[in-house]
Subunit: 921 residues, 2 copies
């Protein structure tokens, strides 16, 4: 069977449902006709009022793009047939001079990408059919307003004409007429504006580049509706690859290969007078999950007016109170309930009421904050709609990050400057910036900033990603700023109307106060309450309570349930007692990585320097003695904080010269000293020190003297560290504590290394045990972070009680990518060119995963009881956690702040790999 | 059955053969009783006159060492029983006051390690039995000489007393008696000397450390022969781990785990007067392979006197002419023939004639020069003793290196200063040095040197390895210097008697001339002729002719024989037409690696610098244009030189900053410029350049912007190179040549990289093909040198016509060892501690081999026809070549000079992996 490029949905004037679902479920269909198209068909299927139309598949978009933006044979014919069918179903024709059919042309990818791609409305109008519209509606003003909107949108979206030309023309017309609002313009004004718009088109469209719209050598607004339709579809296809869509996909890890569907749908009008309206709504509150209908509507408006936040909206609850909309309002409430019953989830919908009749324009599973996601999952579970496993699957682990984001310190005292809507929760403090560019600039300098805009547009996306928080003076909770901020987990206060923003002057005045904010001033915002504060409010980390605590407990039950899949643990990487305590609070089951080199910073750096640079044995011994003392104290603190839980201590890892001064700086200093004529003795001392510093330099330090190599070259360092661990353990045991240290040898490449170091470690432990009279059982294992170690794990495993995969180095050496040079070299280019699908230092790469697999298999071959975990940065990444479960690891270890995320992700990984969430019977 | 620790050999006085072979063949037995023991047993088995004795196994040595130099239960009893049995067989007892049995105690490892371990002779003598020896021999002088030698040797070897004490005592005695030679000392003198030696023992042995030789609180020379025997055996065991033995094993890649056997054997004496003699011989000439009996003997001497080169020897051919030795001489000739018939190889033997009776003390397959190895293999093949495959197996590939070593330029004109023996072929030029330390020092500074010694000792080994050649004034062709130099393939002239060497004064006078050589003077030696020349003689590379040519042709036949195992190719790494021609001359079947970065050195460095540093597109373009021109010329030259043969061109590989100046040097220069008050404009220009240089710096350049990453970041470089390759190919094809270039993309880590680059390459080739009208088929492949590439070869192989394994980088990244830092960091320590068994950059490491295996398997999975080879440095290493054959590679590629070695090694690898050499029916 030939590939089907077009699927119809909705009924015709005869009421017969003409829907052709592209798959059995919405989830299957969305890959073909996109999320919007699949849900339109689904709503039509269950009898909701959906304006009829058809969807052109995502695969058609991909084929069109791959063919250099040309159409495969027959596809345009198929679209033409669908158009004709739609005209038949409606008994109307596009461009008809008497009774024209008008359609919208919208994008709709498999994943929602709000506002990222293009839309054209009112298509089918031309100089002739505008009269048919007047005839049919008896509303001349509406008809001309529709036509001028179409010309404006088509010119901007399809032909790329700058939108400002049109806005300027409208403003000129209003000035000419002495009116303030668009709605005050008359039918005649709008008719004249339409002519002006067509001239703007003619002047600004390059006729040579666009022969299809060229008449007698000049560009002219196309009058043929079929041409309008084809060009609009092509524009929507093309918008799949526009810059902001690409950035959004990168941000949201959506593949570029999916393409977008195009939905061509009969227009319904929310702007046909006071019994018409348009709105967007959620079946529950997407900010905090409260069970209430939530959203906004505008009377006598098109949908874009709501989303863009240009006019301030009214709350959805008030819809039933508007004269002439009462019936539609009631019907909508019923539809909300029906949708939730059908989808078992909180839904996001768009609707239009045309002269009292309700039309459903879109539905999809609603985006929500983490807080709402938790609340809604728990509500549905409590309502008996979904199982606990399904509830656990409903919360995106990465999203939890926003709950673990800072909040205002409850003890802080501050004065609220003004309030807006609490559009996306969490608090942020930063410098005021007025443009996306400036926000990016600040982020690059590690300066937190708040992006302050009248409203945001898709062009602001980069800046929204870069800023700590977003503050707007316009738009409601479903405005662009609010939707995007919630998706990103960034705090957002929107519609703070007291703010008068002059972006050009870089100034904000605040009504009712004499405060003037300038670029660079520090402000604080609280997206949970809508508060805006002048100056910095102290922030605190939240605790795990309420819904979050419950869902994580459910996740833990699943992770630890040995009856269904493997037990999958979560540990933390922590190097000091404070972080260890935080890890415990966040639910870590142990410390998977205690990096001892972090214990050599600050005032201790001098001791290790004197160890390295000392010529004499005596001086080295003295430094070692000092180190032994402070290290013993370090471990006493760690083991106490993690009493009863495993603490894996990694022996010293970094290249020694990291503790030393940079010889280049010192060479320059020497040059200056020479020039100022220092004495020969002074210069000799300088040269000697430089030579000593140089002797520790390596061409490729990451491939040099570090890890266990350090401990083999300087066995006294290993001895000191092991003695400190064993002594601290013995000391605590004597006092009734239950310390559970394990010793991890870093950077093992050959079994011989581990053998030698393990023998030394065991000797020292035995010595301490004998001296203290305390029995010590301290397991010894190693990092698997060198490719050779992964492929020879079957040998190395014989001497290891555990393996911990260090994906940072395994990626570094497995790829041959220097982590120190990641930003400056080729990796950003590789990500842009999609040579790399993701940054392999953030998400485990499938090639590196093969090395992990060889390591896990080899380890178990050598030692059935070996415990395998991961402690690299990818250990806290949900996608990677899924891979680690599938690779057979026993636990992941990540930074304390990511522990809750990892707990949830680990449970989800286990569910996914064991047949998916169990449903209620 | 309990492990057998002792094996007997030889007959007793009753003539009944008591030999207990430790294995069916010498090759089996040598792992148990060592090479010497196995061959003694073998000779006894075939009826040759071998003094009876027994061997204590290598496994006993290992167990003794592993138990901290203590004996396992029962082993000493087993040795005691063997001693008693030997006494029974001989009808004599050790230490007997009337008729004492004397034995030698010698080491004997599975592989020959001449002079590396300890030996004790005349064991069984004491203050009482010396009289029995007088009684039996009627030769008081001989008896006392034997006893004093025993005391001297035992004290030095077993108890560690400095040998100089004894030499000084002898010299004092000679001075006292006014004689010059040892032989002029009388029986009484020697008796007195024996007393003196026993006093030296008493004074210099620490009685507390050696209670076993302590009597009444003082050390005393042990009188109990059983104690003498035990201590001597322990000393030989201990000598397995002495420093020079360890160095020798490292040099010769012999495992430390083998241990040595100890052979206890009845003494026979070559120093019992004028009808006694001792000698060493080869059944053919070991220097050039001539079919002649070859060796030296000394009348009235012990064997050590011959080997140490202390007295000048007589040629073996003269043995039959010495009165009283005629019969033994004839018998020896017959034995030579019998040994060759039995062993089918050239043998090395030691013999002693005691009062006219011949005794065989040792035989083994003789060490030989490469030239001799070739000649002998061909002779045995021609004689119908061995097959061609066996002949090919008889030559050690690494040894061929010495034939490929420089020789004196035949056109050179020089005056011979003096002559010595042509002890090891090849020529060398270098500075005169007088000590091993100085030789090592020179080698570290890359200064060639010639080690000049009166004689060499095992302590000189390090220096012999470091020097280009060895020159001695004493000793024959079987002296220590000669044997070791031949084994190493180093040129050696020995016994150059005209040289009077004063090592302390660092001076050599040359008799008959007024030349005085000082340390650092340049000399030349020719080990093939024995010539010594003052000053530097120009050297040339030899050609492949004669036996070498024949054996390599045989090897090629085997390599290319598809009927028995896989065809296994040999290519060369060459970057210029001269090296390409040399590769062809040496038999390379193509160029496996043409590194184009070597084409950017010299005056071209400036062009590439201007490309890198140019800000403007115009300047970049200009540089690219220049590069295109010179690169096209480069490839014209290469493809012409290799006409009709594959040339794999690797695209630019090194980090760009390798072509730039070092920013640290430049920073120091800037500091000086600041101090001398350069103008602001000048300083700004300097700072700008420094910033630009810095922008190319990477923390770990080996993991940075290099290889294909370079070509992806700067696609214009790839285009330029591919255009040059394609243009040169088209140009030559038009002129009737047959260029066969293939394009290799370096440092591929992901399939996406190869896909992108391959598309670009194919586009450029198609363009050139169109422009020139010449059809171009240029295969495209890639290096597999990144671990990730090896494990994802199943993806990468889809876009590769060939894989070339780059073991340098694969080892570097697989191990995480920086090649640039190999010498300075931990790798030498790892080699010393045996954490690494071999330098993985020289011999393929088994762990890295696993990555190669995954790569080869993956490649074939993706592409059945893929051609897999290796072009890293290990591609020319015989041990690695064996691994590459077993890993399934199609060819190896190595430096031109190693091509003949690789041809031979490849044939041997194939033979070994296909059931071993076919024998003659």
């Amino acid at each position: 069977m030939a590939e089907k490029h077009v699927y119809r949905f909705g009924a015709g004037i005869d009421g017969v449902n003409a829907t052709e679902p592209a798959g059995e479920t919405v989830d299957q269909a969305k890959w073909i006709v996109g999320g919007k198209g699949a849900n339109l068909a689904e709503m039509a299927k269950i009898g909701l009022p959906v304006p009829p139309g058809f969807s052109i598949t995502c695969q058609t978009c991909v084929a069109y793009a791959n063919a250099g933006n040309t159409w495969a044979d027959g596809v345009l014919d198929e679209i033409d047939a669908a158009r004709e069918n739609l005209e038949e179903r409606m008994g109307k024709k596009l461009g008809d001079p008497k009774d024209p059919l008008l359609v919208s042309v919208r994008s709709g990818a498999p994943f929602s990408m709000p506002g990222m791609m293009d839309t054209v409305l009112n298509l089918g109008l031309n100089d002739v059919s505008v009269n048919g519209l007047i005839e049919q509606t008896g509303n001349e003003r509406f008809a001309w307003d529709s036509y001028r909107r179409f010309v404006q949108m088509f010119s901007n979206v399809v032909m790329g004409v700058d939108g400002d030309f049109f806005e300027d023309a409208i403003n000129e017309k209003k000035a000419e007429k002495g009116v303030k609002l668009d709605t005050e313009l008359t039918a005649e004004d709008l008719k004249e504006l339409t002519q002006t718009f067509k001239q703007i088109f003619a002047v600004n469209v390059d006729s040579q580049a666009h022969p299809e719209v060229t008449v007698d050598g000049c560009a002219a607004f196309p009058q043929d509706p079929k041409l309008q339709l084809r060009l609009a579809i092509e524009a929507v296809f093309g918008s799949w690859m526009n810059e902001r869509a690409i950035i959004y996909r990168k941000q949201n890890k959506i593949s570029d290969d999916l393409g977008t569907a195009v939905n061509v749908q009969v227009m319904v009008f929310g702007n046909k007078g006071e019994t018409s309206a348009t709105g967007v709504a959620f079946t529950r509150n997407p900010a905090d999950g409260t069970k209430e209908f939530y959203g906004d509507f505008l009377v006598n408006a098109q949908g874009e007016d709501v989303v863009a936040g240009i006019r301030n909206t009214e709350p959805i609850a008030d819809l039933k109170t508007v004269p002439g909309l009462e019936e539609a309002g009631k019907q909508l409430d019923e539809i909300f309930v029906k949708l939730e019953e059908h989808y078992h989830d909180m839904m996001d919908i768009e609707f239009t009421i045309e002269q009292g009749k309700l039309w459903m324009l879109q539905t999809r599973v609603g985006k929500r904050t983490a807080m709402a996601a938790l609340a809604i999952a728990m509500q549905f579970e409590a309502e008996g709609a979904i199982s606990r496993e399904e509830a656990v699957m409903r919360v995106a682990p990465d999203q939890l990050d926003q709950l673990l984001h800072p909040q205002f310190d409850p003890k802080a005292d501050f004065k609220v400057l003004t309030k807006g809507m609490n559009a996306s929760p969490g608090a942020a403090v930063g410098k005021v910036v007025f443009s996306a560019e400036e926000a990016v600039h600040c982020a690059n300098k590690d300066q937190p900033c708040i992006l302050v805009r009248w409203e945001t547009t898709p062009d602001d996306l980069k800046g929204m990603v870069a800023a700590e928080g977003i503050l707007t003076s316009h738009g409601g909770k479903t405005s662009h700023a609010a939707v995007i901020a919630r998706g990103m987990g960034a705090p957002c206060v929107c519609g703070a109307e007291a703010l008068k923003i002059d972006a050009k002057a870089k100034e904000v005045t605040v009504s009712g106060t004499d405060v003037v904010l300038h670029e660079g001033d520090i402000i604080s915002i609280n997206g949970t309450t809508g508060d805006v504060i002048l100056g910095a409010v102290p922030l605190v980390r939240p605790e795990l309570t309420g819904d979050l605590e419950t869902i994580l407990e459910w996740a833990d039950e699943i992770r630890r349930d040995a009856s269904r899949g493997r037990i999958f643990g979560v540990r933390a990487n922590a190097d000091n007692p404070e972080d260890a305590q935080l890890s415990r609070d966040f639910g870590a089951e142990g410390i998977g990585l205690d990096r001892t080199e972090h214990m050599f910073l600050g005032d201790r750096k001098e001791i290790i320097q004197s160890f390295i640079l000392a010529d004499r044995t005596g001086a080295k011994q003295q430094a070692l003695g000092q180190l032994l003392k402070v290290q013993t104290d370090d471990f006493l603190g760690m083991f106490k904080a993690m009493d009863g839980k495993t603490v894996i201590v990694r022996l010293l890892d970094p290249p020694l010269h990291e503790f030393l001064d940079n010889p280049r700086d010192y060479a320059v200093e020497l040059a200056h000293a020479e020039d100022r004529g220092e004495s020969d003795i002074q210069l000799k001392a300088r040269r000697d020190l430089l030579a000593r510093l140089d002797s520790f330099q390596e061409a490729n330090p990451m491939l040099g003297l570090r890890g266990c190599r350090l401990g083999i070259v300087y066995p006294e360092l290993t001895e000191m560290q092991v003695r400190a661990i064993a002594s601290a353990t013995a000391h605590l045991k004597k006092r009734g504590f239950d310390p559970k240290p394990e010793i991890m040898v870093p950077l093992i490449g050959t079994v011989e290394e581990l053998k030698v170091v393990r023998e030394q470690i065991e000797g020292v432990i035995a010595g301490v045990s004998e001296q203290t009279g305390v029995e010590l059982h301290i397991p010894v294992g190693c990092m698997i972070e060198i490719p050779r170690a992964a492929v020879t794990a079957d040998e190395i495993g014989k001497y290891a009680d555990f393996f911990s995969f260090g994906t940072n180095d395994l990626t570094q050496m497995g790829f041959g990518y220097s982590r120190d040079d990641v930003e400056s070299a080729f990796i950003p280019l590789y990500l842009n060119k999609k040579i790399l699908k993701a940054n392999p230092f953030e998400t485990l790469d499938p090639g590196i995963a093969k090395l992990v697999k060889l390591g896990v298999e080899g380890g178990h071959q050598a030692n059935e009881k070996i415990v395998c975990g991961v402690c690299g940065e990818t250990g806290g990444d949900p996608d990677s956690i899924q891979m680690y479960y599938d690779l057979g690891l026993d636990y992941v270890s990540c930074s304390p702040y990511r522990v809750p995320i990892a707990r949830l992700a680990a449970a989800q990984a286990k569910i996914k790999s064991n047949g998916g969430a169990q449903k209620l019977a």
